[in-house]
Amino acid sequence: MIKKVQYVVLTALLSLLISSTFAQSGMVKGTVADLKGEVLIGANVYIEGMTTKGTITDVNGNFILENVPVGQVKIISSFIGYLNEEKIVAVIDGKTASVDFVLDEDIMQLDELVVIGYGTKRKRDITSSIVKVKSEEMENVSVPTFESALQGRTTGVQVTSDNGMAGGGVTIRVRGTSSLMASSQPLYVVDGVPIITGSYTTDNGFPDKSNALAQIDPSDIESIQVLKDASAAAIYGARSANGVVLITTKHGKQGKTKFNVGYYSGMSDITNKLDILDGSDYLKYTKQAWTNSNKGTEQQYYENLPFNIYNPSITVNPDYSGDTDGGVYRTNKDVIDNTNTDWIDLMLRKGNVQQANVSASGGDAKTTYYLGGSYRDEKGVIISNAFKRVNGRMNLEHKATEKFSFGSDIALTYTENNRVPTGWAGGLGTAQSRSLPIMPVYNADGSFFAPRSGVNPIAEDANLNYQANTMSILGKIFAKYKITDDLTFNADFGLNNLYLRENKYVGTIIQEDAFSMDRRVEVNSYNTNTTLNYDKNFGEDHHLTAMAGMSVQKNNQYESEFNSSQFPSPTLQNPNSGVKKGGYDYETEYGFISYFNRESYSYKGKYLASFSLRFDGSSRFGLNNQYGWFPSGSVGWIISDEGFMEGVSFLSLLKLRGSYGLTGNAEIGDYRSFGTYYTTQYNGESGIGVGNIANPDLGWEKTSQTDVGIDYAFLAGRISGGFDYYYKYTTEMLLNVNVPQTSGSSSVIQNVGKMKNSGVEFFIDARILTGDFNWTTNFNIGHNANEIIDINGQILSGENFGNNFAIEGKPIGSWRLVEYAGVDETTGQPLFINQETGEATSEYNYDRDAIVTGNPYPDFYGGLNNSFTFKNFDFSALFTFSSGQDVYRDDAKFFQGGNIGSNWNQMQIVEDSWQSSGDKTDEPQLSWDGAGSTYNTTHYLSEASYIRLKTLSFGYTLPRSFAKRLKIDKARFYINGQNLLTFTNYPGWDPEVNRDGSGNITQGVTYLSPPQIKTLTFGLTLNF
């Protein structure tokens, strides 16, 4: 009864409201959910052909469509990432019909938007090579910076973590190395703003790189696109030859406020431990070397160990008689024989990491926002090495009118990095090498033991303080104006500022005079983008988009350092307290001014073409050559949409595409075209000297790239993927061309070189099982071959150390080494191949016998990911692999060369050293001071192929019903592992390594480099 009354009242009311517009109409209500039963919020529901009469679902997935004309009506529900569903509903005048939609995921996601430079494009219409990584893929990875998350997930992008240090650097190569002198790192653009990259910390004594990209919190990232081929990247003109990484941060969507809380915490450890000798073995093998070299008695052996044990009772006076001092010997022997210090162990610890992030996003029809904050605290595996980050981001957009909107994307980040010396500079590097296991950490009186040669790394750690704090601002303000339905004007102004402050104090245990430093670096970069975007359909078949714009960027950098030494007290550590004050300042700047346009056309949605042209000017180039043109074009053909393919039902997508374009590289440093005199000083007066030789013709390094690719999908997208072949040819490569030094200069920078990279890339994504048990596999593999074509006939050595070279006809970074031929069975001496006779000889002659060998870059690299979900459980495992690259162990010649008097501890492999005539081994007889054994030979060049379980994660999501009771949308608990397993034959710490000072040519070299780490974290994410 009551129901009937309600009905009458309701109908009456509704009739009153509606009667004026529609004579006869009803309502349709229902819910929209996905296959798992989760409701979809914000899904579109509309009547066919009447999209403007549509509505969207509310927070519970419900919708009500009003004023639906009576009769059989086709209702459609759509949602991004899902396939549309259509239902026919019988609508009766004045009544409410019910219909529920269950949307199936759109596996191919061809309508998904892909970010390209200065715009977006539907995936279907893309005719270039772009790889996209979405935030969900990074969620499972507890890495400090986003580049690490790209490893193994992006076809054709090679990612190498230089080492496992907290706050350390990452090397990225997109489709190989296309430069010798200029940077080979890609251009990074965040929400349209090119950002500051690289390492700004001082390398004085702390050679390993820091990473400016740590200013971006991975949890703020919505998606990353890597523009790989010329037609995608050339819109960034002069800076696009190394590819472009576009990062889009998270933005709010209309709807209720969504909170996301995440937390993880875990521990880390080194991936592998180096096998070096312990105390008793060290004594055993050094004594053997002493005897082999006929150096003398055992007493003299002890005297000649490269240090003395402190004994205050012994005073040493000038003594010209040549007597040996028995007192020193006796004191040494007792302590030495009873000491067994594991220095590496002492320098390492179990690291730990925790990160918390909170975000809120949402908005109404006019204003949307994303607000995020995070905190990360990481203690590295090397003692005293730590990294902290606090980050906040606010992305806001407001529609002032239907036509005009504006907003801002702003992030503030503060990082704190406790840095430690490594490699040759000390710390763990010393612990691996000059800190012998027979040295004690402390003297009997409790003071730090001080070896005569080098530094006790534990004492060094206690006496050293080095912190690098960075404050960065990354943001932009923007405005959009819709001039007509088809034409939009966009303007934005972006900023990226980085303020680095470094404080270092080195105490008197480490060096004679204490040293303190306060160094500041300020990098200010601003950028404007102004574009007009046009997008129009002409009839059914023609779709044209066009964009024209200009951009200006200016970047300046200021550095200053104030330092001093000789302090009155170790408690005073500010530079002002030191007696001997010093410092420097430095200033540099560059500017870019660019005009660009791009037109894309599609005919019937299956014939696609795109063209772009950029005109770029840079202050970095000579006055005669300041501007350059960067054109590109691409075409695509969606064969699967052709009528003749209709019968091939298993093929869901087959797209052929091809592109060609010209990209540039301008990363050579500022002012290189100017002729300069540097300033200096002598005896308190200022002086000058000949600096750079002018080259007003200095111009871009140009890389043309051809790309041919296929995108495919089978079985309604259950299997999909792509294949690309590319050929990159770099010409007018910037090169320091050597000139006779009798001219007073060493080299002149010129555009002369040529280099090529070519390769293939393949990836496949397969949804093997769907439903309750869901199994997805992704596999990608890339191959790149590099060859230096022309560098003026020069043989260029690497940027630093390690015997890498650039040689015409060889891949960049090849080594020149003498071929090792094992050990002479009768003498125990190392043998080398004489390249003139082809015979083994004990003579080491680098000039005659060095051969070009090895390649620091892999032949193949990629990843294999398997993800499973079963009900509320999820599990995924990502393996990465890298095959064919070599690593030159530049330290091994001291570690295992048989030259045991080099004051270094030795690798356990010296156990295999030659003992007596007839021994077959690769390790020569141990000798005390055999100079011959520290030669650079192929013996220390090792293949460093590996397969690594990069990421392993296991998660559990609370059942929906239970979560609902807790008033949350989603709660997931997970365990995540990074680098848990590594399969390799590489004999050093870890095959993934890049020593300090690495560059384009110096790659794949290790010299006491810190190891990689494995990490295990536990975490949870809550959405409500």
Binding site: F592, G617, I688
Partner: protein
């Protein structure tokens, strides 16, 4: 109409952005001078001369390796074991220097960079004069004199280390800027020496007697004496030495140790100067300084020379010590702020003594000069002199100052088992240099 207004606004906005950005590419180095203006004033030329001294200060030149290289080749030093020797040092110790030896390559590059700089200065003097800069009138002699002195000093050491006496091949002789295209061949040793002598004679005329701790006319004459001496032109060597000893006003420091301090002793005729923030001796400290885990300790030969003749010798007591590892070390370069002496009066006494000895062994000046040196070292006077005594005194006095190697070559003594003129004792022409300049022949 409305549409047109909007477009106007947009056009206005764009044009503002465009015009405000016109200076974006207008960027010039802020830390460096333009090569167009650097050498166009007297002040510019003076700072370029200071820049040339700064180069001499390099650890690869007179700040260190130019001395140490000779001592490695002559085996005046041995590996101490405290710090490892690097590749190029091992090569020098073993007398198998390759064409890529870094010490020889850096010596070459720094020397010619400096020579080019002073040549640029000499070439620019007439232009500055023509520009009407009046300061040049009073300064040009000094500027040209210093330029010539620096060029002569470097040419002399280049030809000593690289010149092959067997073939007569010297080093490229660069007396004016060559430009980066220039590919000079090696001049003959004789030609280089005659240019060195010519430059020094002219420098001696142009330079003042006192010159702010920089090159003076006395420095030019003292160096000229050294050049003649190693040319075995003993008559001229003695003439120049006498001029300096008698007329310059320089005198021996009361203690030899005073020559290796941050203060210029009255004995030092020319030194590479240190200031607390710009030291010259860092490389020498690295090789020798006891507290700096030195790479070298004195060789047994040097120890036997130093201890010869008793333990009262100041030069032994002040400069040698036995450390806890049982090895001798030198303390000569223990001061971290010391100036590096390039030429000091003691050498001129020794040069004159030996020169006169070679002309007339009974000349009384010889005994006088030797005893002046011995007396300062707290040794008793000799009553008669022999060539051995002169050699011993010179070696002891100038030990680790880069003299002994060339002195042995001058005396045609065997050096580390090699004949004095063996090509193994010569620096190689750097390979990178021969790669870009095919006119250069190698020492082989």
């Amino acid at each position: 109409m409305k549409k047109i207004n909007k477009l106007l606004v947009i056009v206005a906005v764009i044009s503002i952005i465009f015009t405000s950005c016109s200076d974006v590419l207008d960027v010039e180095p802020k830390m460096e001078l333009s090569d167009q203006t650097a050498l166009t004033t007297t002040f510019g030329l003076q700072t370029a001369i200071i820049g040339a001294y700064d180069r001499l200060q390099s650890g690869n030149l007179y700040g260190g390796r130019i001395w140490v290289a000779g001592d490695m080749l002559a085996e005046n030093v041995q590996k101490s074991g405290q710090s490892a020797l690097v590749y190029e040092e091992i090569q020098m110790m073993n007398k198998n220097m390759s064409p890529d030896n870094l010490i020889t390559a850096e010596f070459w590059s720094n020397a010619y960079t400096t020579i080019n700089l002073v040549n640029q200065v000499i070439a620019a003097i007439p232009e500055v004069e023509a520009s009407g800069d009046v300061d040049i009138i009073d300064s040009k002699d000094r500027i040209e004199g210093e330029a010539l002195f620096i060029r002569a000093l470097l040419d002399f050491d280049l030809v000593r280390y690289i010149g092959n006496t067997k073939t007569g091949e010297g080093v490229p002789l660069i007396t004016e800027p060559t430009g980066v295209e220039g590919k000079p061949a090696r001049a003959t040793i004789d030609l280089v020496y005659s240019q060195v002598i010519k430059d020094l004679k002219r420098a001696a005329v142009l330079l003042p007697e006192v010159n702010d701790d920089r090159a003076t006319s006395w420095a030019a004459k003292a160096l000229l004496s050294r050049v003649y001496f190693f040319q075995k032109d003993y008559t001229n060597a003695a003439i120049q030495a006498t001029d300096v000893i008698e007329n310059s006003g320089f005198e021996l420091a009361d203690s030899v140790q005073k020559n290796y301090t941050p203060n210029l002793s009255k004995e030092i005729i020319f030194a590479i100067m240190s200031t607390p923030t710009d030291v010259s001796c860092g490389t020498l400290n690295m090789y020798y300084r006891i507290k700096s885990t030195p790479r070298f300790s004195p060789s047994n030969d040097i120890i036997s020379y130093m201890t010869y003749g008793g333990n009262t010798d100041q030069r032994l007591l002040q400069f040698f010590t036995k450390e806890s590892d049982g090895k001798f070390y030198t303390k000569k370069f223990d001061d971290r702020y010391m100036n590096v002496p390039v030429i000091r009066l003691a050498e001129l006494y020794l040069t004159r003594a030996e020169s006169r000895f070679n002309i007339n062994p009974s000349d009384t000046v010889i005994l006088h000069d030797i005893n002046v040196i011995r007396k300062r070292a707290n040794l008793t006077d000799l009553t008669a002199v022999t060539s051995t005594a002169i050699y011993l005194e010179r070696t002891k006095e100038l030990v680790f100052e880069g003299d002994n190697f060339f002195n042995m070559k001058r005396l045609e003594k065997k050096i580390a088992g090699y004949e004095w003129n063996d090509v193994k004792l010569l620096f190689k022409i750097p390979q990178r240099e021969r790669d870009v300049n095919p006119n250069l022949t190698q020492n082989e």
